[in-house]
Every structure is written in structure tokens, then in C-alpha cells.
Amino acid sequence: MTETHQVVMRFDKLRRVEHWLLFISFTTLAITGLIQKYPNNAVSLGLVALLGGVQIVRILHRISAVMFVLEAIFHFVYMGYQLYIQRKKASMIPGVKDVVDAVQSTAHNLGLRKEGPKMGRYNFAEKAEYLAVIWGLIMMGLTGLMLWNPIFTSKFLPGQFIPAAKVAHGLEAVLAVLAILLWHFYHVHIKRWNWSMVKGTLKREEMEEEHALELEEIEKGEVPAPVPAHIVSKRKKIFFPIAAIVTIALVALLYAFVTFEETAIKTVPPLDELGTVFVPQTPTPLPTKAPTSTPGPQTELPAGPLTWTTGIGGMFEQRCGSCHGAMGGLSVKSYEDLMKGGKSGPVVTAGDAANSLVLNKLVDGKHPGQFEPDELEKIIEWINAGATK
């Protein structure tokens, strides 16, 4: 069944493009902002990972912020064009009628009034939303630029303004997003799907409910006559230079603000400040050791002729016997064992103490067992005298 409707042209192409620019930048700002506000949330973590990390999220947030502000600049310049050159009515300005309309609408909803109020081109619900966007633009723009330039900001304002701006920025975002989800979605998507930002038109019955006054004006033919061409061109000569200067100034200001400060956003590799970590303590010097004898009491030094049996054997037993004779190799347990020598051959060269291994082993002090100096003298004497039994 083909049903034809009367439709009213509501938004020209430029207005619709504006809306979609706003839609893209606002949505991107909302998503990339809220996941930063709630970074520990599982959804946030997933989205940050999906977008390629928090740095990319922040860059996206800033790009869409710039886009949002550029759109706002365009909007106000275009508004100036419409108001000054086309002399259109400033139909977005709220007034007493809007308060009355809101009350009457509510009363009508509650069944207290038969008819709803007749409303103009922009009804109170739309004006509220528009004003909210303007308020949001100012709040978010100011706090956002403060957060973007914290060092510059704190040159003029107390440092506490930065965290305060952060709180305001975050909570204003929550307010804006929830308001869009509640107010905007209800009025243009849930109550009825409004196609005017796609097609540019509204159906007659939609107009009747929401913009009855405007519809009446249209139907009565109370449309303001187009401004004559010569007046338009005259006004353009005044408007365009001013608009150009204002636009350039605002864009330049925006550019200055978003490129001014780098240290707040730049992520650079950390400095490795630890330096050399391996700095050993100076070791405690080892005690310089004078050769000391194998622990044990001094044996009585032999008096008279030096022979193995008259004391030399006793000294060997005392100082060397606990190893040599118990562990294989050289044994000092008897005169014969000593003279036989060990694995390195004979250790005593009779008559030549200087070439006797048994003494040479001891000279550097490294051998674990040692004689007392006076004992050593007697041993040298004994070997030089022929090392007799």
C-alpha cells in the first residue's frame, strides 16, 4: 500500500551536514572520553585495546574536540549570515512562551488539558537541547583546553583549577551523554523516528504535534519574503570580510591552544637514571699471613745430636702426621716412610736441605701444615747433617 504524506522541508543540506559533523565528533568524544574517565571498567579496557591503546584514544579525543569546535565556529558564522543577511527570526532564543508551553505540554500529557500547546519552529524541548549543547560547548571547551594546557593555565590560575576542570569535564560529559540518551533519543527516535536530519523533511502530522504554530504560519503563507538581491549583495560586502576575520581569528586561536603545550601529552621513553648498578663493596683485605705452624703445643726441641729418633721424628709426627700417613702419598710415620718420599719422589735429599722438597714445599707458606721457626732450623740442620736415623 502506498500512502502519500504531506511533508514540510525543515532542514537544508547545510544544517544536516552540521548535524552529522556534530554527531560524529560528539560520539567520538563521548566514547574516547568516558573510557578515560572510567579506565578500570572492563568495557573501557576492551575499547581502549580495540582502538589501539590510550595514546590513540587521546589523539582521537583531541581530533574530535577540534572538529567539534570548528563546527561550532562554522555554526555561529552561518548563524550570523542568516540573521544579518537573510534577516531570519532568531527562532532558537527561549522565552516565556517556552516555559508556558512546557507546563501546558505536561498538563496535556497528564490529561489535564484537552489540547497541547501550539509551538513554533523550535519547541521548548528542542530549545532546551540546543541550549544544553551551547552550555556543553562552553564548559567542555574551556575545561578541555585547560586540561590540554595545564602548565599554561597554572601560570594564571591556581593549580587546583586543573583537577577541578577535570572533574567538571568528566561530569559535564556524563550529563551531556545521559541527556542525549534520554532527551534526544526519546524525542527523535523512541517517541517517533524523526527523519528530518536525513531527509530534511517532517511529515505534516509531526509538524502538527510539535510545530503547530509554524505549520499554521506556513499554511497561511506567512513566510517572510526573500530579501531582494541588491540588498543581499550589499550586506554580503559588509558581512563576509567581518566573518572572514572572525573565522580566521577563532581558528587561529584554536590552533594556538591545541599546539601550545607538548609536555602534557608527549610520551617519551623514560630516562634510565639508575646508572651503574654493579658497584661491589671493597672486599675486606685478607690478613697477610705469616706462616704459622700446624696448631699444637711446642714440642721439646731436641738437644744434642740430631737424629730421627731423638726428636726429629717427633716433630714430623706432631706437625705433619695427622695428614701424612693417614691419607696416602707421603707418610711421616716412620724414618723409612719419609725417606721413601711421596708421589713426587723423594722429599729429603740427605746433606742438602736446600734441595729437599720437604722444606721447599713449606717456604711459600701455602702448605697447610707448618713447623715453628726454631723447629724448622733443627730440621734444616738435621738434613744438612745427613738426615740420620
Partner: protein
């Protein structure tokens, strides 16, 4: 002529005998308290030569070994320390397996370090868990990279003298053990130790012997110690190390320290970024500050330290300026010093938040109320109307066309 005596013990002089007696007493006293989890330690001990044979020489003071590079190392074992130490019931030959008599087989090590490293693989025979942990450590990685100075077991634990670390009933280390650990790391990291000794943690460990206060291993790990330098994952996870104690009210309440430090850190830009990097991109190189960037790495002072504390505004500013060189005197206040905004601390932040906490429910509540009335009319009043009027008359719209109207076929367009 003195008759050579048959048995070993009979040759002991009284002084040596005293050493050995001490040793045996210590062995008896300490046997059964060994905590080594391995099963290979005890069995061979009985069959191996008595340690007294070795100690006969190696207990005498000043025993040294000279390596071919001229380096001299002590090879004296203090029999008393050994007897009281953790290995008192382990035969020397369990580790020094190649030595069974004198002269000892020639040691081919050319340097003292080489001499130590000969014993590198021995400890794992019994201490398998710790050896496995060590394999994952930064020290092992450095060693495998050719740095022979990196410690093996014996560099930290003297196998001939060390006792087990003192612990309290719940198994945690005593304050004295914390101090002992710091002393061990100091052997190689002396400059870091000196810094640490001046810190609030260092004085708590070294002076007060307070077991609540971290020694090196509490932050860096014990055997599986991970390298803090050049590894971004250490930087990114490091706040968790501090948070382990600093969010624990049972410890912090004793000293009146806030446990909100981690929460407030994460809530701010620095902490948010670090947390997100840690969770999503742990290898991200970043200069975003973690705890130690502001509070110090090893020279951590109290916030109210009159000399270096961050409560001194100039100290905080110079800390900020390390990353934000243009920061001026107001800038440090943009960080709330771990305070949760309140009318006393950061009132502006607190009241801005408060305004929004009132504004948001007011605005949304008003919107919701209006929407509810609209739904009420659309759903209930319409139904009521339908019920009273019966069938609603469908009014055909007059098909007028004015200049402002255009025709639009719904089906045609969609």
C-alpha cells in the same frame, strides 16, 4: 723415639680437640632443624669422609688459595660458624666432590671468580626450587649474556657460615633478617645500598629492624628477581609493588599513612595512563611517572621530610619540572597529593564535583519526569480515549498543496 700412633683421633692436640668438640655439639644441636626440601642431602653424608679431616687444615685462620692471576682467596672455614650454620650436617664432599685427600687435585681456575663458578651448579642438587627461580632472574640473564660478576648462590649465601633466615611464627622474616638481606645485596650494589640506607625504608630496616619495612627482596623479588632497568614492564607494574603494603591498612594504620595512595594515583592522568599501559600494552615505553619517579627509587623519604620531602613545595615543583620543564609555582597544586577532594583539601575540586552531583540528577530527573508524562498520554490516555470513543475515525487529510509543501511517498523513498 716417639711411636707413631695408629688412630687419627689420638693425634689430636687438645686445641684441635676443642674445635672438633664444638663442631659436634653444634651439629647435634642443629640437626633436625634443616629446612632443605631435597632428598639427596642426607643420604650420602654418612658414607663420606668426616668433615673433621678437612677442617683440620681449613679451620686454621689465614688459609688462602692463590689463583694464577695472582688473586688470593680465603679458604678458611670457621668451624664454629660452620657448626652453627645451615650446612653443619652436610659433608664437605657433597659439594667438594672431587676432593678426597691431600694433596687436592689441581684446581684449574685461573681467577677467583672462576673458582667460585666451579660450584655454580651444585646447590640445585638440594635447593631445586630456589635454583629454578634463579633461572628466571635478571641475574641469570646477565650471566648468560656473559657477565660473570652476576651472583651465583654462594655469592649471597655463604655455604660455610650462613644460618637460615630468622622467621616469626607465620613464616615471615624478622626485622633482623630484612637487615641481613639488605647487607647481602649491598655486597654488589653498594651505591644503591648507601642511598637506601638514608631512606625511610632503609632506616626502618637497618636501624629499627622493623619487619613491616621492605628490604630489597620485598620489592625486587628473591631468587626470581626481575631487572628493573630497561624493562618497561617493571616500570608499569611497579605501583603494584608499593601498593602491596601501602594499601594494607593493617600495616599503614600503625604509622598513620593513607591507604588511598593507589586509588588517588590511578584516578589522575599519570596513574590512569600507567594503568592502561600496564593492562593493554605492557611493553610500552613511557615516562609517565610511577611512584618512584616522585618519591625516589631507593632514597625514598617521608613526605614530610624537611629536606627532601614532597610536602616541601619547592621539592614537588622540581619533581614536576623533570618532565614538565616549563612548570611554574602554581603547577604542583594541580596534583592533589593523594588527597581525595574534600572541603579541607582541594575545596574547589570538591565543590565542582558536588555541584554536578546535584545538577545531574536534577536535570535528568526533570527530563525523565516529562518523558514519563508523555508516555502516559501516548499509552494510557490514548487507550482510554479509544475505549470511550470506540473506533477512532481515520481522518483523511485534505490533499492540499501549498508552496511550502511537497509530496513525499514513504514507500518510494525508503
Amino acid at each position: 723415639m716417639v711411636q707413631p700412633k695408629r688412630t687419627q683421633i689420638s693425634t689430636f692436640t687438645p686445641v684441635l680437640f676443642l674445635f672438633i668438640t664444638l663442631l659436634i655439639v653444634a651439629v647435634i644441636a642443629l640437626s633436625g632443624t634443616q629446612a632443605v626440601s631435597a632428598d639427596s642431602g642426607d643420604a650420602p653424608a654418612a658414607q663420606l669422609p668426616d668433615n673433621t679431616q678437612c677442617l683440620l687444615c681449613h679451620s686454621s685462620p689465614g688459609q688462602t688459595k692463590e689463583f694464577s692471576n695472582g688473586e688470593v682467596k680465603s679458604i678458611t672455614v670457621d668451624p664454629q660458624l660452620f657448626g652453627e650454620g645451615m650446612h653443619s650436617n652436610v659433608s664437605c664432599q657433597v659439594c667438594h666432590a672431587n676432593i678426597s685427600g691431600y694433596p687436592h687435585p689441581e684446581n684449574t681456575a685461573t681467577t677467583g671468580r672462576e673458582g667460585t663458578l666451579q660450584y655454580k651448579a651444585l646447590c640445585q642438587q638440594c635447593h631445586t626450587v630456589q635454583a629454578d627461580e634463579l633461572m628466571d632472574s635478571a641475574h641469570t640473564k646477565l650471566f648468560e649474556g656473559g657477565n660473570l660478576n652476576t651472583p651465583t648462590c654462594a655469592d649471597c649465601h655463604n655455604p660455610h657460615a650462613d644460618k637460615p633466615f630468622d622467621k616469626v611464627e607465620d613464616g615471615s622474616l624478622t626485622g633482623a633478617s630484612h637487615a641481613r638481606i639488605a647487607g647481602i645485596c649491598a655486597k654488589c650494589h653498594s651505591t644503591i645500598f648507601e642511598e637506601y640506607a638514608t631512606s625511610v625504608h632503609g632506616s626502618g630496616v637497618l636501624v629499627d629492624k622493623n619487619p613491616d619495612v621492605p628490604a630489597c627482596t620485598d620489592c625486587h623479588g628473591v631468587h626470581s628477581i626481575s631487572g628493573p632497568t630497561g624493562v618497561s614492564s617493571f616500570r608499569l607494574t611497579s605501583p603494584n609493588i608499593c601498593a602491596k603494603c601501602h594499601t594494607d591498612a593493617t600495616i599503614m594504620d600503625k604509622y598513620g599513612i593513607s591507604t588511598q595512595v593507589m586509588k588517588t594515583y590511578i584516578a589522575d592522568f599519570h596513574g590512569t595512563t600507567v594503568t592502561l599501559f600496564e593492562k593493554i600494552d605492557p611493553d610500552q615505553q613511557t615516562n609517565m611517572p610511577v611512584c618512584f619517579d616522585c618519591h625516589g627509587v631507593h632514597d625514598i623519604r617521608r613526605a614530610d621530610d624537611p629536606e627532601k620531602g614532597l610536602q616541601v613545595k619547592e621539592n614537588l615543583l622540581s619533581t614536576c619540572q623533570r618532565c614538565h620543564p616549563d612548570a611554574t609555582a602554581n603547577f604542583p597544586d594541580s596534583w592533589l597529593s593523594h588527597y581525595i577532594p574534600s572541603p579541607e583539601h582541594a575545596p574547589l575540586v570538591y565543590y565542582v564535583g558536588l555541584v554536578y552531583k546535584i545538577l545531574i540528577p536534577l536535570v535528568l530527573g526533570a527530563m525523565a519526569l516529562f518523558i514519563l508524562t508523555d508516555i502516559y498520554r501516548k499509552v494510557f490516555l490514548k487507550r482510554k480515549k479509544n475505549m470511550t470513543k470506540g473506533n477512532t475515525k481515520v481522518i483523511d487529510e485534505p490533499q492540499q498543496s501549498t508552496s511550502a509543501f511537497s509530496q513525499d511517498s514513504e514507500q518510494g523513498k525508503e
